[in-house]
């Protein structure tokens, strides 16, 4: 016990008071607080009233660097991640230049290490095709060697099934999974919201949920045929969930993520042409929200992700059709989903699985289950803390969220990565 560097006492883990012992950046042990163990440690922390959670992993973030640093840069994005409870951040390839060569990947990693040497850790997602143009495969071996952990064409879904099949095969040769933004492009062109009664009334060009589900079906069939895993990004509707459930029952290697906004907001949030609620895929119906919650509880949806998409204020303050899609999510994600636990729509176990265990498992990152030897990546969460979402309380440069002005419950009180305090 003499090597213990940190003891966190009286934290709540799975409804029990525990003491967490950290040594050499790893979990040494997790023991009931009642044992009153005497430990000599350089640092001791009383976490009474705070929940102990493994640090979160966001497998779908846009950090905008290089190219769009005015929206977000790697330093500011990781700052928001650290305060939001995220220790691992997988960032998408739609930068400028696109992350389709090792130079971009390496630069991203250098910037992250310089800004946040102890983490949050950055894991770039490489482009699936050069320039995200879906014409030529990206050099995935080179990208994997440089540090990319997965491949995706991000928000520019690949329309040609043959090309997508080859991309899945080539990526799997590198031992990496493909993440697909599921959208049948011809059914979603120019769309700004979900197709339905609200879009019909507001006169906004819209995409039906079947635009997502059609691509989900294609991807599932390819994964089944090729016996290669596929990860489906930010799933938003019942139709997709039903297909994924069917695929999982068949044993297809499919995993899927959804985002806090698809569990909490509906298409009505677009009323008044509020571009803060413009996101792709769009906010869907109440029935879809219920389906997403059920799917997350049952494990049909494996992962929660933010799809953190920061934009500058002037970009969103335009006519609705012209506004870019996206919600800035790193700051609010954990509080929003904690709200669902408080409402008993999800359990704390659902949260831990979907924000931490599942994304680490799918993308091959070390998991912290608080077993001896696990990385000491954890956070102390104050479930009673209340805070208002304002431009000042958000650490991200992107203040674009429909939650501005709302009060949330629950906030990260402290965040440790490799046993070192980052927040």
């Amino acid at each position: 016990m003499s090597t213990v560097s940190l003891v966190v006492r009286n934290a709540l883990w799975k409804k029990k008071k525990v003491d967490l012992l950290v040594a050499r950046g790893r979990v040494a042990s997790l023991i009931p607080s009642a044992r009153k163990t005497r430990v000599e440690a350089a640092q001791e922390l009383d976490a009474s009233g705070l929940l102990l959670l493994p640090s979160l992993t966001d497998c779908h973030t846009h950090l905008r660097e290089p190219g769009f640093e005015y929206k977000e840069d790697i330093a500011s994005g990781l700052d928001a991640a650290a305060h939001g409870g995220f220790g691992n951040v997988l960032c998408m390839a739609n930068t400028n230049p696109v992350n389709d060569n090792a130079t971009v990947t390496e630069r991203m990693l250098d910037r992250a290490r310089a800004a946040w040497p102890h983490g949050p850790r950055l894991y770039p997602i490489g482009a699936l095709s050069r320039g995200l143009k879906a014409e030529e495969l990206a050099p995935m071996a080179e990208l994997a060697d440089a540090g990319c952990v997965a491949f995706s064409n991000d928000g520019l879904p690949v329309p040609r099934a043959e090309f997508f099949r080859r991309a899945m095969e080539y990526a799997w040769d590198q031992g990496k999974v493909v993440i697909d933004h599921c959208e049948e492009p011809s059914m979603a062109r120019g769309a700004g919201m979900n197709e339905g009664a609200v879009s019909g009334r507001l006169g906004i060009p819209a995409q039906p949920d079947v635009a997502e589900a059609a691509q989900v079906a294609r991807d599932i069939l390819l994964a089944d045929y090729l016996k290669i895993p596929i990860h489906l990004a930010h799933i938003s509707c019942r139709r997709s969930v039903e297909l994924i459930a069917w695929a999982k029952e068949r044993g297809v290697q499919v995993t899927a993520e959804t985002c806090p906004h698809y569990l909490t907001l509906t298409e009505e949030r677009v009323e008044g042409y509020d571009s803060a609620a413009k996101v792709n895929p769009p906010l869907r119906t109440r029935d879809d929200v219920e389906a997403m919650l059920q799917a997350l509880r049952s494990g049909v949806i494996d992962i929660l992700a933010t799809d953190h998409a920061p934009h500058a204020a002037h970009e969103k303050e335009v006519e609705f059709d012209l506004a870019p899609c996206g919600i800035s999510g790193l700051d609010t994600a954990l509080s929003v989903t904690w709200g669902l636990v408080e409402k008993k729509l999800l359990t704390l176990d659902d949260l831990v699985r979907a924000w931490s265990e599942a994304p680490c498992r799918v993308f091959g990152l070390p998991v912290n289950r608080f077993q001896a030897g696990d990385p000491a990546d954890f956070l102390l969460f104050d479930p009673a803390a209340q805070w208002e979402v304002t431009p000042e309380t958000m650490r991200s440069k992107g203040k674009n969220t429909p939650l501005l002005g709302t009060r949330l419950r629950g906030r990260v009180a402290a965040h440790f990565l490799g046993g070192k305090k980052v927040v």
Partner: protein
Amino acid sequence: MQWRHKDLLDVSQLSADEARHVLDTARYFREINSRPVKKVPTLKGRSVVLFFAEPSTRTKTSFDVAGKRLSADTFSLAKSGSSLSKGESLKDTALTLQAMNPDAIVLRHSVSGAAQFMAERLECSVINAGDGRHAHPTQALLDAFTLVGRWGDLKGRTVLILGDVAHSRVARSNVLLLNLLGARVRLCGPRTLLPPGVDTWEAEVFSDLGEAVRGADAVMCLRLQLERMQAGLLPDLREYSRTFGLCERHMAQAAPDALVLHPGPINRGVEIASDLADSGRSVILDQVASGVAVRMALLFLYMTRKSAE
């Protein structure tokens, strides 16, 4: 009636009494339009910006004439001649216009919600002269004014709106206003040109013109944008006109003396048979005349709002 609204974004903002008040006010102004000297000093010294960020001839001219007949100073601004064409945002254009302190801005824009966007940022009144597919409240009011002029009241009347409902701001505003004033509304068009969620609208929906027109007191044709064929929503104009083009044969199924409306400009022989457009049933030119009176009424109500408070 004391006018309480700052902006006219859509007819959904109006109560039935307020809509009737607009029509009653328009009736007074219609008389001015038939005088030898068609000008009154009502809005002398007030200024109206006609900001048409999308091409329009008849609506813009109608507002221009309406403003001038009330002695307001009208200033035209088109997208091609504005900073928007140089990449300026609509917000900055709005703030620039605001700094010139107009009393009202009449806005036409190709994006749904643009009028609301401007109204939220401007202190002066914003009158929506058509925003994207969303709303065209002044057109709906002039259509209602035309029908009320013929019938006296809309209660119990059946109005069929025919054609490209999905992309039509005219249809959306008319469905709301006609219902508000007591009419029954029918919609008819190919499924490809009916909007999502149309079953939730206060209207009966048809895809068979023969059924839709039966017993209707008026048929309001919508303009067909020819690019709908390129989008795969229609095969060709010939087939559209054969299936949904209104002609005398259809009107024989309608109520006796049923009226025909069209917001213009007409594609003759496509939405409506040419001879029907020129027939005694057609009130298309009445609509144009009504437009000036209704827009005079609206400019008057919105621009004198502050002094009435």
